[in-house]
């Protein structure tokens, strides 16, 4: 499909910005959704000046339970909805403070999933569209270093798989994106291996290609598919002893 319009949920993030630019470059009109939408004026101006496309901003909070109201309030249901919201959190803090754990789970799974359920019903009724969810390689197997985040992403990955199955016959496609490491504000301060670390623009390009070519599950850098295949294949009696 060649999308005419895209909605970015979580538009202030580095990945959100990159996705918005890539779709705008193709001529699609862009709706940026984020908290404090009024502060997105410069981002809208940037998209309009660079790509001469229509761009608007709408108020959005992934964990407010207001998905139905949100989609009812849109001027039109877009061709593509991209859910970028995520919260890495801090594993140690999540283990010590259950409110922190809950916030990570809500921001990575329940919040985004509820919004996508609301989008899916409307797209299913229309009989067209594409839903993109940014999940994570961390959801491919739970590890001690980040399993609160990882488990929420595992849930989100399973959700997207089921949604893809559900919507297949209705003409709506669902793309699961597993970016691997990305050089963003979220990962600033981490020592990331350059060969495994994508730039936000690479993620934007990969998502655009996946949408237009109708892909199901993408790893932004292909090496991650191999890495996660290996990690998944380690037997649990061995895996539980590893420090990962």
């Amino acid at each position: 499909m060649t999308p005419k319009s895209v909605l970015i949920l979580g538009a202030r993030s580095d990945i959100g910005r990159a996705v918005a630019r890539r779709f705008a470059e193709s001529g699609a009109s862009v709706t940026l959704a984020a908290r404090r939408a009024e502060a997105l004026a410069d981002d809208l101006a940037d998209l309009r000046i660079r790509y001469k496309v229509a761009a608007e901003a709408v108020e959005f909070d992934a964990t407010d339970g207001g998905a139905e109201r949100f989609f009812d309030g849109l001027s039109a249901l877009p061709d593509v909805v991209v859910m970028v919201v995520g919260l890495l959190g801090d594993q140690a803090q999540s283990e010590a403070d259950l409110d922190a754990a809950n916030a990570v789970m809500a921001a990575n799974y329940t919040g985004p999933a509820c919004y996508l359920l609301a989008a899916a019903r409307r797209m299913g009724t229309r009989g067209s569209g594409c839903i993109v969810g940014i999940s994570s390689v961390a959801g491919d197997r739970g590890r001690q270093s980040n399993f609160v985040y990882g488990s929420a992403k595992a849930g989100f990955t399973a959700f997207l798989a089921g949604l893809r199955n559900r919507l297949f016959k209705k003409g709506v496609t669902v793309v699961t994106v597993k970016p691997g490491f990305v050089a963003t504000a979220m990962t600033a301060g981490m020592k990331l291996p350059p060969a495994l670390t994508a730039q936000p623009s690479e993620v934007g390009n990969a998502i655009f290609t996946a949408v237009t070519k109708g892909r199901d599950v993408i790893y932004v850098r292909p090496i991650w598919r191999l890495i996660m295949t290996v990690i998944r294949s380690v037997p649990e009696p061995v895996f539980k002893r590893l420090s990962m």
């Binding site: 410069d42 981002d43 000046i49 660079r50 504000a185 301060g189």
Partner: protein, 448 residues
């Protein structure tokens, strides 16, 4: 507003010398950039790291501005553009050239941020006619590091504006820049190449060619004796549609598909030696056939941008670039002395650049002044540093100065000798409470 995330990373300029572990913040929100300040620690903004030496990182917090690169306003009638300081010139060229607008001044690489262009008050091949970049800047918004944001222009906070243009980021963090693009009628340059067998001929050709919009010379600095100063001078004009091939006239703004090579690894340090560079220069001199042709803006303005990471050819120890300007009246003798000394030592420098500059810019620490500028690369080693000390003496004696955006090694007396308005710069920093609040490795080295 919480402090942005930060991390300690080794940073260098484009020359990869010197290197320093720095605390880095990469704000995505201008408000965070405006207040970014570790308690009692000085700040310095960093753009795309294309200044060569130690201007783009500091002893306190280095603020990476590349996430703040939005285009905020553009007037299709006047070409007036407002963008955030982290916007890359390459993006501006890509967006606006097809619409008939081009940067009023462009340095030899387009991988610079607009904030960096202001901080270095960059000049281009049109300096003799168009002045430096800041001559085209209408206003900037500057964060003073204590939450204050001031608009600066020739009319508003003019003293701070004059200190900021060419001020190497030492007067605050640039947030936005408003400047005027110039109208062009194609994305091509009508180029004329002239060979000069020696320095005197090169200078005569520059002086006679002052009416050309763009001019630059590649000078073979290993040539000596009767060949001293042997150069290839390249003039340029923005092409009109009728200058193009008939087949191209209907689409004067068409751009060739991006091409690019990359230097994949650090070259061994021995790869560049007198022999290889001398060969390269001789081949280059002969390849530049005299005559006229029409070329795309990329090969004309940004020849080295086609080779990604070209700075790796000098090996892992890095290199230094030496760029001086000599006043018009001392240029002939001074350049002869410089080239003689360089050729005598035979240190590898290839693609040295010679260029006629026009009138002095208004920025207190702006580099350009009326005269001739010479730019050369050298591998960073003890031999080079000894040579450059000797070149410093020639430059100082000729009443010249060195370009801060290139410098990695001069010392404070050389700066003071070359920049008579340094005291005014200090006075502005004191007046606005900026001294000590903004510091870079360069400003520490030069006691600014």
């Amino acid at each position: 507003m919480p402090e942005p995330d930060r991390t300690r990373v080794p940073l260098t300029g484009w020359g990869r010398y010197p290197r320093r572990d720095c605390d880095v913040a990469a704000p995505t929100d201008p408000a965070a950039a405006a207040v970014a300040r570790a308690p009692a620690r000085p700040l310095i903004a960093r753009g795309n790291g294309r200044s060569y030496g130690d201007a783009s990182f500091g002893p306190g917090l280095t603020v990476d501005m590349r996430r703040l690169g939005r285009l905020i306003a553009f007037d299709e009638a006047t070409g007036e553009l407002t963008c955030e300081a982290g916007a890359l010139l390459s993006e501006i060229v890509a967006v606006f050239t097809p619409r008939g607008w081009f940067p009023p001044v462009t340095p030899g690489t387009k991988f610079v941020t607009v904030g960096g262009m202001v901080a270095s008050d960059v000049h281009g091949k049109n300096h003799h006619g168009a002045g430096s970049f800041c001559d085209h800047v209408l206003s900037v918004r500057l964060a003073l590091g204590d939450g204050t944001i001031l608009t600066c222009s020739q009319a508003e906070n003019a003293d701070l504006f004059a200190a900021t243009c060419g001020g190497m980021g030492l007067t605050g963090t640039l947030l936005t820049v408003t400047f005027r693009l110039i109208p062009v009628r194609s994305s091509k340059i009508r180029q004329e190449t002239v060979r000069a067998p020696d320095l005197a001929a090169a200078i005569d050709i520059f002086e006679a060619g002052a009416a050309h919009t763009y001019s630059v010379a590649w000078i073979d600095c290993l040539a000596s004796g009767a060949n001293l100063g042997r150069s290839v001078i390249i003039f340029g004009e923005h092409a009109e549609p009728q200058d193009l091939d008939p087949a191209e006239r209907a689409t004067p703004f068409a751009r060739p598909a991006p091409r690019g090579k990359r230097v994949p690894v650090d070259f061994p340090t021995v790869a560049l030696n007198r022999l290889s560079v001398s060969l390269f220069n001789q081949v280059y001199y002969r390849l530049q056939k005299p005559g006229r042709k029409v070329v795309d803006i990329d090969p004309y303005f940004y020849p080295l941008d086609a080779i990604q990471d070209w700075n790796r050819i000098y090996g892992r120890h890095g290199f230094v670039q030496y760029q001086c300007v000599l006043p018009l009246e001392t240029s002939r003798d001074g350049l002869t002395a410089l080239l003689t000394e360089i050729a005598r030592v035979g240190q590898a420098s290839f693609l040295a650049v010679l260029k006629r500059l026009g009138r002095e810019s208004f920025g207190y620490l702006s580099f350009p002044r009326e005269g001739y500028t010479l730019a050369l690369d050298f591998p960073a080693n003890a031999e080079t540093f000894a040579l450059l000390d000797r070149l410093d003496r020639i430059v100082a004696e000729a009443g010249g100065r060195l370009y801060l955006a290139k410098d990695a090694r001069m010392r404070a007396p050389m700066l003071r000798a070359g920049y008579p308005r340094l005291e005014q710069f200090h006075a502005v920093r004191r007046r606005y409470g900026l001294d000590g609040r903004f510091r870079s490795a360069l400003s520490d080295r030069l006691e600014i």
